[in-house]
Amino acid sequence: MNLEFIHQYLPLYQEAAILTVQIGVLGILASILIGILCTMIHYFRVPVARQIAAAYVEISRNTPLLIQLFFIYYGLPKIGIRTNPYACGVAGLAFLGGSYMAETFRSGIDAVDKIQTESAASLGLSGLQALRYVIFPQALSISFPAFMANVIFLLKETSVFSAISLMDLMFTAKDLIGLYYQTTESLFLLVIFYLLILLPVSIVGSLIERRLRYAGFGS
C-alpha cells in the first residue's frame, strides 16, 4: 500500500467525511421532524392531511433515494425549482427518511396500550397532554431500536450523493481511482472513513438500546 498517497489524500477524505456527516445529520434531523409531523397527523386523525401523509409515506418508501435525488436535482429546476447540491442532498434524505421515521414512531405509538391513553384521560389530561407526557415517552423507548436502524440506514444512504456531484466520500474515492489508479488505497480510505462514521453510531445505539431493555418499561 502506498502510504505516501494515503497521507497526501487524507485531508480530501476528511473534508468529504465532514460533508457526508453534515448532510447526514441535517437530513436526519429533518426526517425526525417530518416523522413527528406525520405521526401527529395520523394520531389525531386530521382529515385530508392524513391521506396526504399516508400517500407521502407510500411514495417515499417505495422509491430509491438515488431516483428521488435525480428528480430533485435535475428534474425540478426545469419547472423553476432550483437548489444547490447541498440543499438537494438534505432535502432528498429528509424526503426519504421522513417516511421511515413516521412509520417507526407510528408503530411505537400503536404498541402503547390504548388503555394508557384512557388512564391519562381519566386523570383529566387533554389529548395533547396524554401524547406528550404518557404516550410519546413510552413510544420513544419502544421504537428506539428501529429508530437507530433508521439513523444508520440514512447515514449509509448518503453514499449516493456523489450522483448529484456532491464531493462526498464516494465521489472522492471514485475520483482518485479514476485519476491515479490508486484503487487499493482509495478504497481502503473509503472503508475506514465509513467505519469511522458508522461504527460509533452503531455502538452507542446498541448501548442505549441495552440500557432501555434493562430498564424494561413493561408495567
Binding site: N62, L66, I67, F70, F71, G75, K78, K156, T158, Y194
Partner: protein, 224 residues
C-alpha cells in the same frame, strides 16, 4: 402550462428503452433475491447454532453489511477485485455478488428471528403429542416460521429493487443510464426532458415496489 418534457417519452423507442433499462435493474434484483433466499435460509439456520465459530462468522457477515453502505461494497467488488485479483467483473456481475452477499445476511437474520420466535412450548407440546423431530418441523414449526418470514422477505425484495438503482454508479446501463442518454440526445428539441423522464423513472420504481409492499403489509396483518 410549462413544458414538462414528457413528450420525449413518446418519441421513437424511448419508452421501450426506458422499460428495458428498468428490466435490467429488475433482473439484477430478482437474481440476487433468489440467491439471497437460498443462502439466507442456510445462513439463518447456521445463526441459531450454538457453535461459537459459526456464531462469530455469521455475526461478522451480518454486521459488515449492516455497517457498510451497499455503494461501498459495490466499489470494493467492482474496482477492488480488478486490482487485487486481476478479475475483470462486469458491473452486472459485481452487483449480483454484492446484493446477494447483502441480501443473504439480511435474509439470514430474518430466518434466525423467525426460528427463535417460536416458543419452546411449541416444541415441547409437539413432543408431548408423540411427534417425531421431522413431524414437529413439518407440521408445527415450519408453517409458523414461513408465515412470519414471507411478509418480511417481501419487504427485503422491495429494498433490493430500490438498491439496484445504485448500479448506475458502476457503469451498468440501467434505467437511469438510459434516462441520461435520452435526456442528452433530446437536449435541443426538448430542454425540459429531465423533469418528465426522471418523474417517469420515479413512478416506474414506485409501480415496481408498491404492489409488493402492499401485499407484504396485507399478509403481515392477516397472518399475525
Amino acid at each position: 402550462m410549462p413544458d414538462l418534457g414528457l413528450n420525449v417519452l413518446f418519441k421513437g423507442k424511448n419508452l421501450t428503452r426506458l422499460l428495458g433499462g428498468l428490466g435490467v435493474a429488475l433482473q439484477i434484483s430478482l437474481l440476487s433475491v433468489g440467491i439471497s433466499i437460498v443462502l439466507g435460509i442456510l445462513l439463518g439456520v447456521l445463526m441459531t447454532w450454538k457453535n461459537p465459530v459459526s456464531r462469530v462468522l455469521t455475526r461478522l457477515w451480518l454486521e459488515t453489511v449492516r455497517i457498510m453502505p451497499q455503494m461501498v461494497l459495490l466499489f470494493l467488488v467492482y474496482f477492488g477485485t480488478t486490482r487485487v485479483f486481476g478479475w475483470n467483473l462486469s458491473g452486472e456481475m459485481s452487483a449480483v455478488i454484492v446484493f446477494s452477499f447483502w441480501g443473504a445476511a439480511e435474509m439470514g437474520d430474518l430466518v434466525r428471528g423467525a426460528l427463535l420466535s417460536i416458543p419452546a412450548h411449541q416444541y415441547e407440546s409437539a413432543a408431548a403429542l408423540g411427534m417425531s423431530g421431522a413431524q414437529t418441523y413439518r407440521y408445527i414449526i415450519l408453517p409458523q416460521t414461513v408465515r412470519r418470514l414471507i411478509p418480511l422477505s417481501m419487504n427485503l425484495i422491495t429494498r433490493m429493487i430500490k438498491t439496484t438503482s445504485l448500479v448506475l454508479m458502476i457503469g451498468v446501463v440501467e434505467v437511469l443510464k438510459v434516462s441520461q442518454q435520452i435526456i442528452e440526445a433530446n437536449r435541443m428539441s426538448s430542454p425540459n426532458a429531465a423533469f418528465g423522464v426522471y418523474l417517469t423513472v420515479f413512478f416506474l420504481y414506485f409501480i415496481a415496489c408498491w404492489p409488493i409492499s402492499v401485499l407484504a403489509g396485507y399478509l403481515e396483518k392477516r397472518w399475525k
